[in-house]
Symmetry: C2
Subunit: 371 residues, 2 copies
């Protein structure tokens, strides 16, 4: 589909205004086209960038002949809007807070990247590395749809790099690696019967009792990987059984989500779950391996030092699964670094202290220029 009229480039000079503009173009997964069009127009206005579009994903690269290449990536889709758009700015100056869907996850991070993309590599700037800026679709849904995954299949060369920074919210700190995630269905079967003569049937919901008992008693591990401690989690996220108020249920399904530390592979995670739910029918419905923090990589270590010299603090583990795992799979060390409190992602009261925008932009710019 072509746009009927070319959208105007966005103004990258005002970072708060840019974040608002990005959030106020609704971009729920599957409906990213308008926002991708606006970002494309902004990138194409920069002669120092070579821009490629794939679906609603955009890749913009410098070609400065540097030895190393740094990739900065972020997804442009959001979870559904909860009556929290358009954005609303509360307070003024450095104390202002921007409320609305996408401010945290992760159009704040996208704004930082987009502003720097238009600036670094333009005449008069001297980035230390060549730069690849990636803006992609479909991160908040089924991982088979993920735009970064599609780019890795369609244009693996475009994802090449020596180090990647994913602008996922990390409170402007550095969060290394990520836990893996696996979903399984634990299923029981019974025999349907009229509930007035229950003894002629077998109750599949009752049969699920030991599954829930094991889950309630389960003690999740905390595992140190490359110096960061990853907390695991094993939880029922959905349960469903029964068809009517007078029928003994013949089927019950518990959907379980396992978040596992990145020293464990997907196969090891599955083996563990089969052990936990021994005696039950276990079907894996979704899985994505984690990513080790990779902070021992020289470029990563240098980035961490540069950012934390300014911001203070220590690198922390990322608990949620993020696309750093895709870079890890491609052999590119990657960290999460972006504005916003990850605990507010997907919440109705999603909101961003705007000071983190400039903090992230300035730290990233300083490292990319000063190296």
């Amino acid at each position: 589909m072509d746009t009927l009229t070319d959208p105007a480039p966005l103004d990258p000079s005002d970072l708060v205004g840019l974040t608002r503009a990005l959030c106020d173009i609704p971009s729920v997964s599957g409906d990213e086209k308008a926002l991708a069009d606006a970002i494309e127009a902004t990138l194409r206005a920069c002669p120092h960038l070579v821009v490629v579009r794939d679906g609603d994903a955009l890749v913009a690269r410098t070609d400065l002949g540097r030895d190393r290449r740094v990739v900065v990536a972020g997804h442009i889709d959001t979870v559904p809007i909860a009556d929290n758009l358009p954005t609303r700015l509360e307070g003024t100056g450095q104390d202002a807070v921007l409320w609305g869907r996408g401010t945290v996850d992760m159009l704040g991070g996208v704004a930082v990247a987009l502003a720097l993309a238009t600036e670094l590599g333009a005449p008069g700037t001297t980035p230390a590395h060549d730069l690849t800026w990636i803006f992609y679709d479909h991160e908040e849904v089924d991982s088979a749809l993920n735009g970064l995954g599609r780019l890795a299949r369609n244009h693996p060369d475009l994802l090449r790099g020596d180090f990647a920074i994913l602008g996922e919210p990390s409170n402007a700190g550095i969060e290394g690696g990520c836990n893996g995630t696996m979903r399984v269905e634990v299923r029981t079967r019974g025999v349907a019967a009229h509930s007035a003569r229950a003894w002629t049937g077998e109750n599949a919901i009752h049969a699920v009792a030991p599954v829930l008992t094991r889950l309630a008693a389960y003690e999740p591990r905390a595992v140190e990987v490359d110096g960061l401690v990853y907390r695991e989690g094993l939880n029922a996220v959905r349960i469903e059984g029964g068809i009517a108020g007078n029928v003994i249920p013949d089927a019950c399904t518990v959907e379980v989500n396992y978040r596992f530390a990145p020293e464990r592979s997907v196969a090891e995670a599955e083996a563990h779950l089969r052990e936990v739910f021994e005696g039950f029918d276990v079907v894996v419905t979704d899985a994505a391996g984690g990513a080790r923090p990779g902070l021992d990589d020289p470029l990563a270590a240098q980035f961490v030092r540069s950012v934390l010299d300014t911001a203070g603090g220590e690198p922390a583990p990322k608990y949620g699964w993020t696309d750093v795992a895709r870079f890890a799979e491609l052999g590119v060390p990657a960290v999460n670094f972006g504005p916003g409190d990850p605990l507010l992602a997907h919440k109705d009261d999603e909101r961003l202290p705007v000071a983190q925008l400039a903090q992230c932009r300035d730290a990233l710019r300083a490292w990319l220029l000063d190296d």
Copy 2:
């Protein structure tokens, strides 16, 4: 709503044909009008009957000045059709089996009643008692909609009688009384959180583990009441919890159905469930008391003797809740007596050995005439 053209009366002389005709007018709960119209036309063609219609329920009464009045009642609605209409007759003569929705529950019993209604009280017959024939709607759904309950509210005088026979399937034997039924929701609450940081939430599905463990371990009673043994049952019939694959669920609900012997009142049943689920939030959503078999009533005892003298066997308890409980509440002793195997009710392969039709009609006719 009036019918546009008066339907023709049905032919009550061929009992199998009448049963088929009744079944082949689809009459799922809420959609009984066409069948009620046909039954009404058949009853109104009998000068010996006084007919009253209330919604899609019909009451037809003789007025012979007898000392006692016997009520024969049956519901004309069925559960949804499972691609098992129109009816299909397999085999011939006394060995024939009639397949299809409603053959068992309970248009076979309705056919027996309708045939006898047109006959008994007509010139040349001498029924021993005055007779009230009730055909009613909405039995297979929420008890608030039940047509017999509506009649009891709108026309309590029409339900008056000394003994009631409900034509619910009992394999042409006599099933006394019925168990009560109660539905409760056992609910847990938790705190929602992203499943990547489960420790910031509280899992409401895990919290339900003890509820299922208690249900799985529960030993239902078998209670003798007036000489019949009633088996109880306590079962989860539905469970529901969770909203997404990456969210710690903040609510879980187990729907539980308790079938309790008729010596226990609704209040006693509730107290028992609150004891079983102590420590949990229990909400009663539906309840109907049972009915003692009442076979010590003189008219009931005489009926039982008369039927079993021919058919053999012993009275048995009715496990499923039936509208005999409504008559019991009105002080009218009532039994279940009708063609068809109750275990086939609501099944896709619902089917009736047609020999039971004549067996029920003949036993009922003999008792009503010979007393």
